[in-house]
Amino acid sequence: MIEVQDVGFTYPSGVEALRGVAFTVNNGEFIAIMGQNGAGKTTLVKHFNGLLKPSIGRVLVDGIETKKTSVASLAKKVGFVFQNPDHQLFSETVEEEIAFALKNFGFEEETIKKRVTWALSFLELKKYRKTSPFMLSGGERKRVALASVLAWNPEILILDEPTIGQDYKQKEKLRQFILQMQTQEKTIVIVTHDVEFVAECNPRVLLMTEGRIVADGQGKNILANPEVLAKSSVVPPQVVQIFSRLNELELPKNVIDLYEAKDLLLKKLEKRLR
């Protein structure tokens, strides 16, 4: 569980990045944080593993106050994948990159081997086992960063822009993985601009603007509300855009799923066309 209690954060430069942020993430929850550039999304999630400590208020991770513990001790519990993979990759080979944290956490040789192989095959990186991460494409490097964190199986997973550079197939895999994590009561927080990905997953959505949370609710309620989205520079998903142009059909307002949209349209149009 992550408890964010009236958190404010000001960078040394004087920029006030978070103002009065308060919410709770329960175990097994899947949350997407969305909002305009500079709204404080990355600053907020950096508080979840203690990389940043609040200037005002408290952040508790499983009851432990982040100010009173180290990033190292939180790391095993909270895995963090950065927006830009180049900020976290440094090893000579993909395999070493993925094994690095496992070694640091003191896992046994046998376990490390198994975990690394699992992560490589899950993220379709097996053929790059002995390749330098810096020889890979942008999307592939992003998956190496993801693999290096998934390998140690943290309780809480923070993914900053996980879908950047990923094709549709990879995104679908990520979605399936997140669903699987949820059945194991793991907590997933993503920061993303990928409206269509969020529409496909329908998680709890937190919208941020200027260091504050301006909306908090189920994806289908938030993403289908153009006025709220506009405040955070988020464009509605395509299904919502289409429905909003079809007022005369009197379709329900909170549809973000493509299949649901198709069924509703067929029902409406069958009557009209007959």
């Binding site: 709204a39 094709d167 289409i242 493509l258």
Partner: protein
């Protein structure tokens, strides 16, 4: 007129055991808005590096086949010469920003070309305003967010007003509204100034509607090349794992269930909404 042409182009990075590009033959016409997409690791970035000569001049390696860009054989002209013709916006903006202020970064290319001071001032301000970062011009490019850095990289290329702009996932760090605005700016430059645009993107929901031409890559090869409506409307394209726009998918799904919305495959919400409204109009 063809402005970018490759014939049987193959390329292997130094130390690579397999070619990254394999027998690529494409033609992009002057004034086109071409969209390159394909699976992750399909070597979209690699082909972009060929367009301005970074391959082979900077990356070295083995290049076979032919490539001509703006009437020049890129293997025979150094990158600084190609830079006048082709502006490249990198996937990771940090890789191309280096000056102490945003303004200087945007002016750098023009300084190198020896553009007169007054003209440079105008072009830099024009580009900063188009990219929506005029107010940030005196800040350091290293203390702004990833999304803002992407705008700087775009402004730096716009200021050069090249014949061709190649953009490699240029808005991946930008919020959806900013991304939409940037794509509108690029589309505008394409339509009004006739600049040829080559855009690498996975998110076709946002971009397919602008494209005149789509090229789909897979494992270093071109697997589809042609009209966006024909290609994105084909069942086989969906099966390659390309992120077909939701509007196009909805059109296909409705057709499968017996509701045909005309013969033009929609690429945007507006287009499919229009077709749906037509369908419910009372017939005479």
């Amino acid at each position: 007129m063809v402005i970018i042409e490759t014939k049987n182009l193959s390329y292997t990075y130094p130390g690579g055991t397999k070619p990254s590009l394999n027998d690529v033959s494409i033609k992009i016409k002057a004034g086109e808005f071409a969209l390159i997409t394909g699976s992750s690791g399909s070597r979209k970035t690699t082909i972009c590096r060929c367009f301005n000569g970074l391959i082979p001049h900077f990356y070295k390696g083995e290049l076979e086949g032919e490539i001509r860009v703006a009437d020049k054989d890129t293997t025979k002209h150094p990158t600084f010469e190609m830079a006048k013709e082709v502006g490249l916006v990198f996937q990771n903006p940090e890789n191309q920003l280096f000056a102490l202020s945003i303004e200087k970064d945007v002016a750098f290319g023009l300084e190198n070309l020896g553009v007169p001071r007054e003209k440079m001032r105008q072009r830099v301000d024009w580009a900063l305003k188009l990219a929506g970062i005029y107010d940030l011009r005196e800040r350091s490019p290293h203390e702004i967010s990833g999304g803002q850095q992407q705008r700087v990289a775009i402004a730096a290329v716009l200021a050069m007003q090249p014949k061709i702009i190649v953009l490699d996932e240029p808005t991946s760090f930008l919020d959806p509204l900013s991304a939409k605005k940037i794509f509108e700016v690029i589309h505008d430059l394409n339509r009004k100034l006739g600049i040829t645009v080559v855009l690498v993107e996975h998110r076709l929901d946002l971009t397919a509607k602008y494209a005149d031409h789509i090229i789909i890559m897979d494992k270093g090869r071109v697997c589809q090349d042609g009209n966006p409506r024909t290609i994105l409307g084909a069942e086989s394209t969906r099966l390659i794992g390309v992120g077909i726009p939701k509007a196009t998918l909805l059109f296909q799904m409705l057709a499968k269930d017996g509701l045909k919305l005309g013969s033009v495959v929609p690429l945007s919400s507006d287009e499919i909404a229009q077709s749906l409204l037509e369908a419910i109009k009372p017939h005479d």
